[in-house]
């Protein structure tokens, strides 16, 4: 192999590279062997024998972990402090609250969207009053329209109120999130990394 390396070097016309470079030779040799080793290890981990032996170790570890979990849970339950499970329960409640806010937001958006569509449809359906309609009928129509407008305005007020309430809820949630969380006690069973 070193002959190949040397002849490669000689092909280059620079005087400097005529010199045998032990560092380069070592580097080339190393990377060729690394390639071979990579192929060998990849083949080795693909075998069922490897998988089975890893599973034996894994299952023994899981058995140990289960026992450790049981012991530490028992201890955590008897101590007068909140455990990491308790903290997690609170965090889960917050996530559930977020879900609810998301659903409300979705519903509100859908309602608003539908309202917008309906309003457009109403506007389209209102045709100008024909010239031959008497003044009395015209006044009646105007009264009806006024009522519709009042209803729509009331609806819009309600929606604005809802939007405000949601903004406030979001702000409180963000505030709650930003607050420093109580440091969860580290339990060996969950801190395997």
């Amino acid at each position: 192999m070193s002959n190949d390396i040397m002849s490669d070097e000689i092909k280059q016309d620079d005087l400097k590279v005529l010199m045998f470079n032990p560092f380069k030779a070592w580097k080339n040799m190393y990377f060729v062997s690394e390639e071979a080793l990579t192929a060998i290890t990849r083949k080795a981990v693909e075998t069922t024998m490897f998988a089975n032996s890893v599973d034996v170790i894994l299952n023994s570890y899981l058995q140990y972990l289960k026992l450790q979990n049981e012991v530490s849970n028992y201890i955590a339950e008897t101590l007068p402090f909140s455990s990491h499970r308790d903290t997690a329960r609170v965090a889960k409640m917050l996530t559930a609250l977020e879900n609810k806010v998301d659903h409300l937001d979705e519903e509100l958006f859908t309602e608003l969207y539908d309202l917008k569509e309906d309003t457009a449809a109403i506007l389209e359906s209102i045709t100008p009053v024909p010239a031959n309609v008497s003044g009395e009928v015209e006044a009646g129509l105007a009264e009806q329209m006024n009522q519709q407008i009042k209803i729509t305005e009331a609806l819009l007020d309600k929606i604005s109120g809802l939007e405000l309430a949601m903004e406030e809820m979001k702000a409180s949630l963000l505030e709650l999130k930003a607050k420093p969380k109580p440091a969860a006690r580290k339990s060996k069973k969950t801190t395997t990394e």
Binding site: L18, F23, T41, R42, D55, L58, T95
Partner: protein
């Protein structure tokens, strides 16, 4: 050794050997420095705002000063392994940046880091509470009734679950980047995860929150020599050859930045997908609804790496067979799993193909 003296006097040869030795020492010292205390490079640098948050997840909306060309927004869904900033790794090597510059309105769902309270999260939760909501937010933000989704690796599988269950907003285009659909003949994972002693229920029940070290080990052991040793010798070689190590540092940061896996989702992933191969059999049921692949009518682009040893090309290609819809495209590239979003092939071939394919199938913004 004869040749040392062929072109040089013994004095010159000694000087050259000395120089080589010093270079060797210098690069080795620098190698040690990089591994021990060099600052981690910046990643995920494209300007963005957070459109929505839920639990630890964040939905990013990427900002641009250039003109938007397409109304149909693009939502990227990443896997639960490692972090999604691989899609926006570093300027010049970022799928997000490329698509934004091409005029797309780009969004990315970052799952965040799962903690103890998230241990019961299942795929049903991820699809219904996260992806579906994110999709609606994206459509609303973009003012579009249609969206496109790019799913990378497991993110592609999750996108499929979403696509089969939700009609609104309309999923116009679905891009798979090395995403497994068929879990049969899954390479090394097939041997490991179907071994008689491997019980995902036991793992999920005992660990509850599957630690990132366990997930990391499983991924790295697919190619132990390259991942545990070769990574570091490659760094030394790069230094020794005087090349830039920035990209190595960026890649190393991402590959070692893993997250915990919720036990509930882990159980689903191994038992239903790898062991049961239920997706292509239409046997996956989420919150009482069956995932039927034929219901997906979106245009499909399936991209695979021919040297991928994590998701085999045929696993992604199965999308063309099992999904509904008529517009399906399949592309192969001579790269590994990460090569579809990292490196020169990604920059020069994959990104332009995605942009072109999406551009042809997205609503163009009319000039007002």
């Amino acid at each position: 050794m004869e040749r040392i003296f062929q072109a040089h006097s013994p004095g010159e040869a000694g000087e050259i050997l000395q120089q080589n030795w010093e270079h060797w020492l210098m690069t080795t010292t620098r190698w040690r420095e990089i591994l021990s205390y060099d600052p981690r490079p910046a990643t995920g640098c494209s300007p963005k705002e957070t459109l929505w948050t839920k639990n630890k997840a964040q939905l990013y909306h990427y900002q641009t000063s250039s003109e938007r060309r397409y109304r149909t927004p693009v939502l990227m869904i990443y896997a639960l392994i490692n972090r999604p900033y691989v899609l926006d790794l570093t300027p010049g090597s970022s799928l997000v940046e490329y698509l934004v510059n091409e005029g797309f309105d780009v969004y990315l769902l970052d799952w965040g880091e799962f903690e103890w309270e998230d241990r019961d999260i299942t795929y049903a939760d991820l699809v219904y509470d996260y992806i579906a909501t994110a999709a609606r937010k994206v459509a609303r933000s973009a003012g579009s009734k249609e969206i496109s989704i790019i799913g990378y690796c497991m993110g592609g599988t999750m996108s499929t679950l979403y696509a089969a269950l939700f009609n609104r907003p309309v999923l116009k285009n679905l891009v798979y980047l090395a995403a497994p659909i068929d879990f049969n003949r899954a390479g090394t994972y097939d041997v490991w995860l179907k071994a008689p002693g491997y019980d995902p229920d036991r793992i999920a029940d005992t660990m509850e929150l599957v630690p990132k070290s366990f997930i990391d080990w499983g991924t790295r052991m697919l190619n132990p020599m390259a991942n545990y040793w070769g990574t570091y010798t490659r760094l030394w070689k790069t230094l020794e050859e005087g090349k830039s190590v920035h990209f190595w540092k960026v890649l190393n940061k991402w590959s070692s930045d893993n997250v915990n896996f919720p036990g509930g989702a882990y159980r689903d992933w191994i038992r239903d997908f790898y062991q049961g191969n239920k997706l292509i059999k239409n046997q996956v049921i989420l919150r009482g609804k069956r995932v039927q692949l034929q219901r997906i009518k979106a245009n499909i682009l399936a991209m695979v790496g021919l040297r991928d040893h994590i998701v085999m090309p045929h696993q992604t290609a199965a999308a063309l067979t099992y999904l509904g819809g008529n517009d399906k495209t399949y592309m192969e590239f001579p790269v590994g799993h990460g090569g579809l979003v990292l490196g020169e092939t990604a920059r020069m071939q994959v990104f332009p193909e995605i942009a072109y394919w999406l551009g042809e199938r997205s609503e163009i913004l009319s000039e007002e």
